[in-house]
Symmetry: C2
Subunit: 203 residues, 2 copies
DNA sequence: GTCTATACACCGATAGAC
DNA sequence: GTCTATCGGTGTATAGAC
C-alpha cells in the first residue's frame, strides 16, 4: 500500500507539472486574460473540474507559474560567474529572458489586469520571490552604476523596469513572425537595442 | 427643417466624438480585451444599445480610435521641420507618442488579441493609414541609416517594431505609479534609454 | 436615434456520481 | 481524484417600445 500511495502521489505531482507547463505555454501565447480554464483543461487533457483539485483558482494557477519563473530567474542570477561585471550580469539576465520566451516561456509580465496584479500582491510565495529578485536587480544596478557601466541619462528605476518590460516586448513576436531573423539574431538585436540603444555610438 | 436636420447631425457628430474620446481613454487604461461596451456606455452617458447605432461592433469602435491615432501620427510626421535629420524625426515621434500616452492617449498597440488584430487587417481605413505610417517610418530609418545615425548592431525591422512597442511599454505605467519622476522626466528617460541605450557611452 | 429588456455565448467555479 | 453537468455572472449584440 505504501507503494500504491507513493505511485499515486507521483502521478499527482506529474500531472501538476503538466498543468504548470500547459499554463506556461498558454500564458506566453495569449496572456492571462485571454487564457481560459477550458484552454488549460484541453491542453492538459483533463476535465476542467479536476484542475480545481490542484489549484483553487485561475489566479492561484497563474501565480504558481510565475513563482516558478521567478525561482528560475533567481537560480540563473546566483549561477552567474563571479568574475562577470554587474553590467554583464544584467545583460545576461535579459538575454536569458528573451531566449526563455522564444522557447515558449511565460514572460515576467503576462498581464496588465488590475485584479490579477492585486491577487499577486496577496500571493505570499510570489511576493517573497519577487522581492528577492527585485532586491538582487537593485544591487546589480547600483554596482554597475558605481563602476560607470550605466548611462547617466537613465535613472535606476528605468533600468529595472525596462528589464522587466523587455521580457514581454511585442517586438519579439513581430520579429518572430517576420521570419527574417533567427531566434539567436532576435535575442542579440534586442540586447543590442536595449543596452546599446538605437542610435549609432561614437567611434 | 434644414436647420433641424443640421442641428441633429451636429449633435450626432458631437456624440460620436464623445464616444471616440471615451474609448480612447478606456483603451489606454484597460486595453482592448478588458474594455467592455458597458464601460463605454457608462463613460459616455448613453445606453449600450445606442452605441451600436454609431459603430456596428466593438472591433469597429476600437478600430476607429486607432485610425484617428494613425491620422494624428501622420500629421505629426508631416509637420516636422525639414531641417531635422531623419534620426531626430524618429526620436520626436517616440517623444510625441510617450507624451500622448501620459496625457491619457491610446497606444499604437492596445491589444495582443488575435481576433482583434485580424479585424484590423480587414479594416480598410485602418490598414490604409497603417501602411502609410509604416512606409514613412521605413523611409526615415533608411535615411537615418544612410546618414550614419543608426547603430550597426540593430536591424531596420528592430528599429521600426521598437518604436511601435515603446508606445505601449509598461515601463511608462510603472514610472508613473512610482511618482518619483515628472511626466517630462519619464519621457526623456525613456527616449534616452531607447535611443542612447542603458549602457554608458564612450567619451 | 435612444432607451429598456433580452437573447445567446462564454467563463470561472462548484456539485454530485463514480 | 476525475469525470459530467450545471450554476451564477458577465460579455457582445439585438429586439422592440417610444
Amino acid at each position: 500500500m505504501v507503494f500504491g500511495l507513493s505511485f499515486k502521489k507521483q502521478q499527482f505531482d506529474a500531472r501538476e507539472e503538466a498543468i504548470l507547463d500547459a499554463v506556461n505555454q498558454l500564458l506566453s501565447e495569449k496572456g492571462y486574460d485571454l487564457m481560459t480554464m477550458d484552454d488549460v483543461a484541453d491542453a492538459v487533457g483533463v476535465a476542467k473540474g479536476s484542475l480545481y483539485k490542484h489549484f483553487s483558482s485561475k489566479e492561484k494557477l497563474a501565480g504558481a507559474v510565475l513563482s516558478r519563473l521567478l525561482r528560475e530567474t533567481l537560480e540563473r542570477l546566483e549561477a552567474m560567474p563571479a568574475e562577470w561585471t554587474a553590467g554583464r550580469k544584467l545583460e545576461e539576465v535579459l538575454r536569458w529572458s528573451l531566449q526563455h520566451r522564444l522557447r515558449g516561456g511565460v514572460p515576467h509580465l503576462p498581464s496588465t489586469s488590475v485584479s490579477f496584479q492585486r491577487s499577486l500582491l496577496l500571493n505570499l510565495e510570489y511576493m517573497g520571490l519577487a522581492i528577492r529578485v527585485n532586491k538582487r536587480f537593485k544591487e546589480l544596478v547600483a554596482k554597475a552604476r558605481e563602476d560607470g557601466e550605466i548611462s547617466a541619462q537613465v535613472p535606476d528605476e528605468v533600468i529595472i523596469y525596462t528589464l522587466y518590460s523587455r521580457s514581454c516586448d511585442p517586438t519579439v513576436e513581430f520579429l518572430k513572425q517576420d521570419g527574417k531573423l533567427s531566434h539567436e539574431q532576435i535575442v542579440e538585436a534586442m540586447v543590442a537595442a536595449t543596452f546599446g540603444g538605437l542610435s549609432k555610438r561614437e567611434v
